[in-house]
Symmetry: C2
Subunit: 406 residues, 2 copies
């Protein structure tokens, strides 16, 4: 890939019956200086630093019967953009997003611009350090239900999850109206439980509390929750916009990790013809904007992200990069203990096993559900099969009996 | 449509080979209280106010060879949501957006919730009052180019547009890096030109200045630009998120209209299988969030929004509603004077004719381009044909010769 440090390079997948080379030229000019051929020469000289350029046009299915498709790579001068996601997205996919069958597949952002984004404050190493766990994938559980429950019921649920030896526990992402269990009350209650658990067992837990409210107040609220003792923030990034993630992650007063929920992102990534690719949206953009942990649909559920996309997404979160720390991939939905070997094979050492129904639905309940997972995780990192591990773990046996093992 | 004042009712278009009734049930439970059938009765009583309900399932192509499709209408209790777009979208289309081929077609929001959104501060009547124009569609022109031009060149361009008798002039939406013509300088310069134009001809003009920067500073910046004499704000709503539009529109210190640009929304609406419908996204959500003027792709360009969608979108912006003022539809892209009768037939009395190339590309230049449009608009509202009007207008004749007339 030919790139240039003075350009953001966007790669588009385009479907249509037209001249792809001409289309690429039109994009490069139309989305930067507006017009070119009819400009006087003096004007051209003045505009050259702002002019987009066609970097590559790759026709994908020449001579086939299908609708013609091509990858267009267009460079947009850095000098046209501010160092923020709204500016970049408006420039490379503002008007263009509405211009027929065109999908934004990737963005190459040069280091000079990338370094103006915060990236994860903690990242994989930082989260591991907070938890004191360095030798295995992490385990997270989700509240089975949050809405409508009083704090004392949530407290019991929280304790059951802690007893299952999970590393992280998150609010439900739809938990906005918390009248019966207000956010500060939850933080006080659950962080006290975390503290007690640490004192009695030595094991640390992070609680990801849902950050909600007007976007104009989210940064102050994040600081406030951080000051109040929250150990992690959950953010519905797409509904609020990526820029608020950027601003929270960049603020030194928010000294806790940020977990990005993929809510609403299915509006963008699944179509082959429109929108943004999942690895770009949930991988690259989440990481550079500062998510420490990123949830996305696993490739194993009944309705799932295609496996190559999910792996590419995780790669975007983790690949070594001079500028930003790696973020924790968290393939979610449909996860049960029998999938742990598959997850480990597919996602490697660094990912978070995230379970809701696969923990709470365990025949012996939530704590046993957590135990089944921790035993499965312990098995894979010690090179044992699940069948072997199940001989020593009634909880894992039970889980495999219920859900099977891939 | 059966609705209920205690629920937000979402209508989804779903494609797939499954039991649509079961699917609807799963959504109503899964996206609210999480589980139902296995709950003890006391718990059920506690949860009923928070439980979603299936309002209607309409199977669309029973017995056809195509992939089965259905409309599902699900009610979500108001008590589960905050009065903001991120909360509503996360609730009704958070996880669900990633759950196969499902598109959010419409939202019915009861008055009690709707009234907690600002809606347009000015709306159609307010914009007309600001301009003193009550008897015809308005005319807007777009700078041919902004990036890279010094203020004195933009000043000339602005004057050419004013001389064309346009009502509104907007920045290019990709105008982020304004080093050569900083935003306060533009406001000072162009508003002075507006003032002079008003004093000499009696005609008022609104200049929509692009609001850019960190989302955490946009509200303050909007106030600042308003204080500095700006007459209108341009906002790329989708890249920043709908909630910031809501917050700016709701703030009494921002006492100027807001023009919503549709940049990036092509990532959401064009697929028949995924995302949000254009009338919901660019119609209903824009209006309730507070856009006074909404741009969207016209149904006439080479790549365009389907006509029924564009008309339905405009209807969402304009239909009488006890809570919010109507907003100005602005069908854009590919507009030339020959299209004015068609626009008028399709969009009625209240819309904005928005032209870029159709003004600047006029054979006699920008001012003549504006004149051709104003003559065309005058013709349609006086019941004359374009051919008749062209007899008295060299500019309109020229435009029709170049672009034709529909």
């Amino acid at each position: 890939m030919t790139t240039d440090q003075n350009y953001v390079t966007a790669t588009y997948l385009v479907h249509g019956h037209f001249d792809f080379y001409k289309k690429a030229q039109e994009i490069a000019i139309g989305l930067t200086v507006g017009s070119w051929t009819d400009l006087p020469n003096a004007k051209k000289e003045q505009m050259i630093p702002h002019l987009g350029k066609v970097i590559e046009v790759k026709v994908l299915n020449h001579n086939s019967d299908e609708i013609p498709q091509a990858l267009l790579m267009i460079g947009y001068p850095l000098v046209n953009m501010n160092p923020d996601i709204p500016s970049i997205l408006t420039t490379v996919f503002g008007k263009l997003s509405m211009d027929g069958q065109i999908k934004l597949i990737d963005l190459h952002i040069p280091d000079s611009l990338l370094s103006q984004f915060p990236g994860p404050r903690f990242g994989i190493d930082g989260i591991r350090r907070l938890l004191g766990v360095h030798d295995r994938p992490l385990l997270m559980s989700i509240f089975k239900q949050c809405i409508g429950l009083p704090i004392n019921e949530l407290e019991k649920e929280y304790q059951n999850q802690i007893d299952g030896q999970v590393d992280l526990i998150k609010d439900d992402e739809i938990f906005f109206r918390d009248d019966y269990a207000p956010v500060l009350k939850r933080i006080a209650t659950f962080e006290k439980q975390n503290q007690h658990h640490k004192e009695t067992t030595g094991k640390k837990v992070l609680y990801a509390v849902n950050l909600t409210g007007p976007v104009t107040q989210l940064l102050e609220k994040a600081k406030h929750l951080s000051d109040a003792g929250a150990s992690c923030l959950l953010l519905n990034v797409a509904p609020y916009g990526f820029d608020i993630l950027h601003r929270i992650a960049a603020d030194p007063d928010v000294n806790i990790p940020i977990m990005a929920h993929p809510a609403f992102t299915g509006s963008f990534y699944p179509s082959p013809y429109y929108g943004l690719s999942a690895p770009l949206l949930l991988g690259k953009l989440m990481r550079l904007s500062g998510a420490d942990i990123v949830l996305f649909p696993s490739p194993y559920g009944s309705v799932a992200m295609p496996k190559d996309e999910a792996l590419n997404l995780a790669k975007q979160l983790k690949y070594p990069n001079k500028i930003h720390r790696p973020a924790f991939p968290t393939p979610s939905a449909g996860i049960h203990p029998g999938l742990v070997p598959t997850l480990y094979r597919d996602f490697g050492d660094h990912f978070i096993v995230n379970a809701g129904g696969g923990i709470h639905g365990h025949p012996q309940g939530t704590s046993a559900g957590g135990k089944a997972f921790t035993d499965a995780i312990q098995a894979v990192v010690s090179g044992r099969t699940l069948a072997e591990a199940a001989e020593d773990s009634a909880e894992l046996r039970s889980a495999i009996n219920k859900w099977g093992a891939l």
